[in-house]
Subunit: 118 residues, 2 copies
DNA sequence: GCGATATATGAACACATATTCATATATAAG
DNA sequence: CTTATATATGAATATGTGTTCATATATCGC
């Protein structure tokens, strides 16, 4: 892959600099995975509820209106991406947010939504 | 769907408050759509390049190592979500970022990546 | 008008993913 | 040990999505 600009609109030196600045593919993949987790309405609702209080799986099923199994599957994804953590109390397992950035990500996305609706 | 907590860990009043605070489904869907756009490595690379300079489609194809058609399809998605805009100059069409939040979203995601790698 | 070039688009395909159903696991109470 | 309850998990299915290929559209120069 050459870094030469076909359109001649960008100087070669600038072109190489930009091309070099691209994060390595491992980072890009990690980032896209991270965003994809937020790209599902069920997971977003779960994250919202957990941003307000810890909840057990059954409660999250009621709150989201999903089946327990569906919630459990999604919680696993959130756990693997370290966005939530769980603690056991008897047979009940409580989930809570485990990432400081979740709230920030929410806020900025909401800003975007507001802008787009103008 | 009742708002009563099965686990009795959350007072009913608090439960109702949290349930009421959930953004309406239209907003949730809009948010998840927004995040899903970032959830693809090709689109992320395109957004990175456009965050540095405007580029024509052919250049983006070279930079990303993808076919022109693939890039064009992804640009359409980015356009529909108002993350990029385009201007025509003869037969060439230049794309540029069209959202102030893109950079912010990138930054926070990168923070998350750094934290997770600790 | 014609040909050349840049981009866009539709169909087809392969692959990913969210949900459901049935069932397994784990803990507690008796 | 048995039963009941909460959660997790595997298989199946339906739906969504990214890429490729072929082709259409749009603009420019002649």
């Amino acid at each position: 892959m050459t870094a030469k600009c076909l359109c001649k609109s960008v100087p070669d030196a600038e072109m190489r600099k930009i091309n070099k600045g691209l994060p390595e593919s491992e980072t890009i993949d990690y980032l896209s995975d991270f965003f994809r987790v937020f790209g599902d309405s069920t997971r977003l609702r779960i994250l919202y509820f957990l941003s307000r209080h810890e909840f057990c799986v059954a409660d999250l099923a009621i709150l989201t209106g999903m089946q327990q199994s569906a919630v459990s599957h999604q919680l696993k994804i959130l756990r693997l991406h370290r966005l939530v953590r769980s603690r056991r109390d008897g047979t009940t397992i409580y989930y809570a947010l485990d990432d400081l950035h979740v709230q920030k990500v929410f806020d900025i996305a909401l800003e975007h939504v507001k802008e787009s609706f103008k």
